[in-house]
Symmetry: C2
Subunit: 125 residues, 2 copies
């Protein structure tokens, strides 16, 4: 059973963390066939942290997990921190296939998304 | 002539700012008919700041500008800071129609983008 774990940075502002959790819930509604298990997790400042998020997926019955970094830039968090944490969890669960997808900002669909949003603009005058 | 101004937060890490500029350049290639003028701008920490970005669009011949907040969460920057700055620029250029679009994280396409990215994952084992 395949799980998707959406990883955001985490914020001191609770509402930002709740927005990520709400996005994970919307994903659940739209993608339950591809990903019967979907959770949000955080690099820091909010729960669950990445290892606990991975554990949650496994407790729900996941045999493989895709970790998706919900980050716009390919900074240290994306290039080093998340891979390091995931690699440690992988060692703890050798029977589970844990994969990291490209980060959000790397998506080819970003161009279409931006142009679509721009057309939704309202006048400031 | 319509312009699109992509606004990121701005980072001390120069590479992150360059990624935003590169995205604006990719947008130029793909959307030159809808938006003959496209620039990147920053809320802080990088150039051009928003007022300078708006000025740049106008110098290039823009008669209307869509400002797009390249932000994932609807925090203070999206709800207050960017609208305040844009509102001040609007007063300085009453003949230019300056609009703010929804921020990136609000896009309905985000769900499809995430599912598409997740399928690009590679194994960590």
């Amino acid at each position: 059973m395949h799980a998707l774990l959406l990883i955001a940075h985490g914020s001191r502002r609770q509402k930002s963390n709740d927005e990520v959790r709400a996005l994970a819930n919307r994903l659940k509604t739209h993608s339950s066939v591809q990903y019967p298990i979907i959770h949000a997790g955080f690099l820091e400042l909010a729960d669950p942290l990445i290892p606990a998020g991975i554990q949650q997926c496994i407790q729900d019955g996941a045999t493989s997990i895709t970790v998706l970094p919900y980050f716009l830039n390919s900074g240290r968090h994306v290039v080093e921190d998340i891979p390091d944490i995931v690699s440690n969890s992988q060692k703890a669960y050798p029977d589970i296939d844990i994969r990291i997808s490209s980060h959000l900002g790397a998506s080819d669909v970003m161009i279409d998304l931006i142009i679509g949003l721009a057309s939704s603009s309202t006048s400031n005058r």
